[in-house]
Symmetry: C2
Subunit: 344 residues, 2 copies
Amino acid sequence: MRERFLRACARETTDCTPVWFMRQAGRYMAEYRLLRRSHSILEICKTPRLAAEVTQQPIEALDVDAAIVFADLLLPIEVMGLSVEFVSGVGPRIGSPVRSPADVRRLETRRSADLGYVGESIALARKNLGDRVPVLGFVGAPFTVASYMVEGGGSRHYAKTKSLMWSEPAAWRELMERVVEVLVPFAASQVRGGAAAIQVFDSWVGALAPSDYRRFALPYSRDLIGRIRATGVPVIHFGTGNGAFLEVFAQAGGEVIGLDWRVEIGRAWQRVGDSRALQGNLDPIALLAPTEELRRKVHAVLDGAAGRPGHIFNLGHGIIPETPVEQVRAAVRMVREYRPKRLA
Amino acid sequence: MRERFLRACARETTDCTPVWFMRQAGRYMAEYRLLRRSHSILEICKTPRLAAEVTQQPIEALDVDAAIVFADLLLPIEVMGLSVEFVSGVGPRIGSPVRSPADVRRLETRRSADLGYVGESIALARKNLGDRVPVLGFVGAPFTVASYMVEGGGSRHYAKTKSLMWSEPAAWRELMERVVEVLVPFAASQVRGGAAAIQVFDSWVGALAPSDYRRFALPYSRDLIGRIRATGVPVIHFGTGNGAFLEVFAQAGGEVIGLDWRVEIGRAWQRVGDSRALQGNLDPIALLAPTEELRRKVHAVLDGAAGRPGHIFNLGHGIIPETPVEQVRAAVRMVREYRPKRLA
């Protein structure tokens, strides 16, 4: 529900905790798999009619409180001049990755208008959904986007990214600045399309030591988040693997901090402070657990938030393809039916 | 140096911070690669003469303060009745993984004497090294060993492990107890061979939410560590990805807590308390950085420990194969030459 979600972002009281799921539109859903038989991921992303359809699927199927536009955090890489393909069973593969200062200088920063299709998808989904639920937009955080550009895909050790960062700090800075230059207008176009909030995904930030996060990632995330915030919508700032340095991560901004599942939510609130809302943080694999165990875990997250205003229920990372849809639906019902324990 | 290492485990003052590296014997060293041309990993592990040779290689090459026996945390899986092979470029592959209560009941627990070759390797390395440096033994933590047994190898989501844990809690308990029954005498045989300390590697513990760690892993790690401790040697309790719940992890025990690189060491000490020594926690990829950046990072770790007794310098995870040996040697020198800043 639109108001439920937006009030929680602003840490205002709600009738019950709003709930949505990262990757709630995706391979675990039959409707999505059917569409994927005739269209590639990039085709769906770039065809607003299809992207809006996928964006809306979980609203019908799950009764969640927010839709998130179907898109990919690698889309901006294309308009910067690199090729992106999604290889089945492997993940994204990026052509001619960025490895040198010369590679950085070649990156284009003025073509973000070419990403307008994402804003159009949002506008279309908004039109179809009316005021039922807000549609969220998203971008990758500069570190996560840059690490894909340098590694050429997923990575285990991020050795190439860190090597560039440490051996060529000026080129790294320029890389991050160029990424931000593309992400800001991209996020703004999503807001113009009607995005009610923007989530910034720093999916790979957990590869960094906190001192490196401070020097090589935080300034650019802060710049990005501040400039998105200036468009007037709240920002959800999500990371994984960063629970050991959550305080530092939170310094980059975000009305809402998105938590992965290794963090106890009550403790997280102590660490990031009362001025933030929190989103999360059920282990995504818990959706594969027996119903009673799932209920126990959903309740544990809600108990951790202790009925405090400013909690948005979500997973600690995206839904995995093996997840049964029925379990996701059950989790939504559990959140709806939960009543906070009376505090003594 | 033997005394330097052991005094740090006991939080006594040392002339300088002792230093060794996880996976200090391995593919990044030419001597090791040469031996691997004619022997498989398992052959080296099971031939004390070869295992001792590999164990000693970094002592000559690097001047570190401890040797760690060349072995593998999957060796106990073999004596429990599963096959293990190391597939080049893929990692370990385990035959007929454990997926049901019946699979758990089939696991053997009385053949740990067959792992005696590891104790023999330690004895031989000790004999060759004399009192120059201590030789450390190691075992996997029950969760990490069990997750390999269930997944059949490495894993991204640990979905099979978590599913078994949550759907068949009695079978999970029995699995963990059986693993501990094998690991305790295995560790004891390493101590009899002359291991000066045992490191318990909980490499995959970061897959767990803290509440699941408490229920499904901590009791068995605590049992294991307590029983190893009873053999009279200190235990180093190491985990990765667990920085968000370090307090809970430390409850399982260990004179020394081994940290991954996402944790600030000074803060870690506040969280685990003054009664523990700490080991760690340079980002292993920092060994690929330019020398000045490496020095900065080595100093940052040492500054974080603030010259407090009870710090053992190490990485936050193992050395990766691409690491230049010269950089590892340089890191040892940097630790040796470091003098703590005078506190005001």
